[in-house]
Symmetry: C2
Subunit: 388 residues, 2 copies
């Protein structure tokens, strides 16, 4: 076997740009338009909106059309905004993916043109996959519209849809052109969706920044009272830690290493599947963190006081700590293998023992994990009996 002389290595450079603003399409409208390029010729932009968002904010499509008009030296809106279903159903089949690919084709969006997607994490995942694969990649600007997507997936470099019963089976790594976190998209969220980003905030705080955990503990009342300034601060800090991991962590496309940012997620993903996504991702992550913190305390000498501290914090933010599906230990534990398969290679689960102290474990003692699940359920049950 002979290697061609020209075989060799090459690098591709990406710029990952995440910004924050308020009132993206009005007060920040000029700055938003500038992200799409210079004013020599307007950028062609297909706008895709999350149906859940437009239901809560029916004036949004008109606001976007008005923005495009005032910024017409930079923005050439390709038809009226396309509204697609939001929530997990956006990525549970190929309907949204196909709608967006077809619109990219019909409305003549090319590799130098843009998709502007405004919505929650699931919708951004499906639209992102369509943008990343149409013409092998058109430019994507994301405006995540939930606390969860502003703190976590919406500011990352991945997309995906579910297939054959497997979460995110089909997807790519595709850095967006830009991400804009607009806090003024958040006030219409339900309570469940309002808190959803906060379990991811706790996760990243446990992994990387205890001061964020302290901030969350102190801010619980304000957050329960839906203080937008506080939420914006928490989401921005969480997003920044997430982006730092991607930009400075050395393996943005997860080629060689497992994913520390998936702490607590093996059980969260499995519980979402088991409940047919009735359990939200935010709530599932809260439970997932508790299970793995209990495990770390039982099996790895992790801090017991940290377990109590995080449980209190989650509860004060309104998170449930148990759900019925947790009684099926066997099926829940199957999530470990599913998680390994999706990441690939040997098992590698990140466990936190103290704030900012984590380790990767390559095997899980299933009996101890059952105990961890039970302890999480017990604490959750106490909470329910106190509140119920």
């Amino acid at each position: 076997m002979k290697e061609l002389p020209s075989s060799g290595s090459f690098s591709v450079r990406w710029h990952h740009r995440v910004l924050t603003c308020r009132d993206a399409f009005t007060d920040s409208g000029a700055e938003l338009a500038q992200l799409f390029g210079d004013s020599s010729s307007p950028a062609r932009v297909l706008c895709v909106l999350d149906g859940g968002l437009t239901k809560a904010a029916p004036a949004l499509p008109d606001r976007i059309a008005a923005w495009a008009q005032t910024q017409s030296d930079r923005i050439d809106l390709a038809g009226t905004p396309l509204t697609v279903p939001g929530g997990e159903q956006a990525k549970n089949d190929r309907t949204v993916f196909d709608q967006v690919v077809r619109a990219i084709h019909d409305r003549r969006i090319c590799r130098q043109s843009f998709v502007l997607a405004v919505g929650g994490g699931a919708m951004l995942d499906a639209v992102g996959l369509a943008a990343a694969t149409s013409h092998r990649g058109v430019r994507l600007v994301r405006l995540p519209s939930t606390t969860l997507s502003q703190a976590d997936a919406g500011v990352g470099v991945k997309n995906g849809i579910n297939a054959f019963g497997a979460k995110n089976l089909i997807g790519t790594f595709a850095p967006p052109w830009a991400v804009v976190n607009d806090a003024t998209l958040l006030p219409t969220l339900t309570d469940r969706d309002w808190r959803a980003g906060l379990s991811e905030a706790i996760k990243v705080a446990l992994l990387k920044d205890e001061s964020l955990l302290i901030d969350l503990e102190h801010a619980a009342v304000a957050l329960q009272n839906r203080d937008l300034d506080v939420m914006e601060r928490i989401a921005t800090r969480t997003a920044d830690l997430h982006v730092a991991h991607i930009v400075h962590g050395g393996d943005p496309f997860e080629i060689s290493r497992a994913r520390p940012l998936d702490f607590g997620h093996w059980s969260a993903h499995q519980l979402e599947q088991m409940t047919g996504f009735r359990l939200s991702h935010g709530d599932a992550v809260g439970i997932g963190l508790m299970i793995d913190l209990h495990y770390a305390a039982l099996a790895l000498g992790g801090s017991q006081s940290l377990v109590r501290r995080v449980a209190s914090c989650l509860q004060s933010l309104g998170f449930p700590l148990c759900c019925d599906a947790m009684s099926d230990h066997d099926r829940l534990l199957d999530g470990l293998e599913r998680f390994r398969e999706h990441l690939g290679g040997a098992m590698a689960i990140t466990m936190v023992t103290e704030p900012e102290h984590s380790q990767e474990v390559s095997s899980i003692d299933r009996d101890v994990m059952r105990q961890a699940i039970e302890l999480t359920v017990r604490r959750g049950g106490e909470q329910m009996s106190r509140t119920g």
Copy 2:
């Protein structure tokens, strides 16, 4: 608008490895197995075969199974090889894509496991998209089984399927783990498929290496007589020039620039579409080269003797220089706009005026292009009346 402190640039490094061998699964079997990793634990491998190939070489699946058995310290074959349809139908809908994604899921292929795809360019494109998007990318080893795929697309970093009537509408850039060009896969090809890689060889010779053009001119009789050594030499040189462009050309994912390697392809793609893919890609590229060489001679002062030289070379290799669809100038010229859309941005067509001398043009004089089409048809007609 405020940028997050962690926003910034990152690079991802890829290794693009293309090798040549004979009898990959027997004489070169040990070296092939070594590509899949070290012998500490065998790599899990899903093998996908082109149905056109297994029809011509029915012993291939057994040969691969035997190879995996003798290399069992390195190779863990995930079930019997999956055979999928080859040819353009492989990428004209999502059947093959879905079959492969489902097999990756069912047979537990993870991001550290492999898909080994053996087949022609269209099949490799569809299987490659499935591999690149399943779990956001499992490792792909390609064995292109045609002269066209060994010389051109099979050694590149792209994949794609057609959708909504548009060629390669859905695809990604995804460097394969390795590509192995095995000349012993070629002798069963039909005459049309045997010559198909040679128009791409002429293309790359015109752009980058006149000595390859001279080699092709001298080798015409041997190639018509199906001399495998000569074909291997031509395909290897063509592949090497193609890979050099990717690895050393500075824009492997075509983010900023148009594609010089698409010389002659705007009309080739359109003629394939217009004929419902009855015209092969190889034959279409031959015609496409002639059209653009004529255009360059008429509009850009290109060499007339080069036009005659390439026409003679194509004809001596058995290529037709015209087809019925060329009489519909308007529809053929629509291919210019389709091509621009797929690449994105302003029109940028590469034109060759002398060997190794090309220029990018940003507009096309449609009347002159009609003449160029007519001149190509006329030469092709003379050829047909001489041979018919």
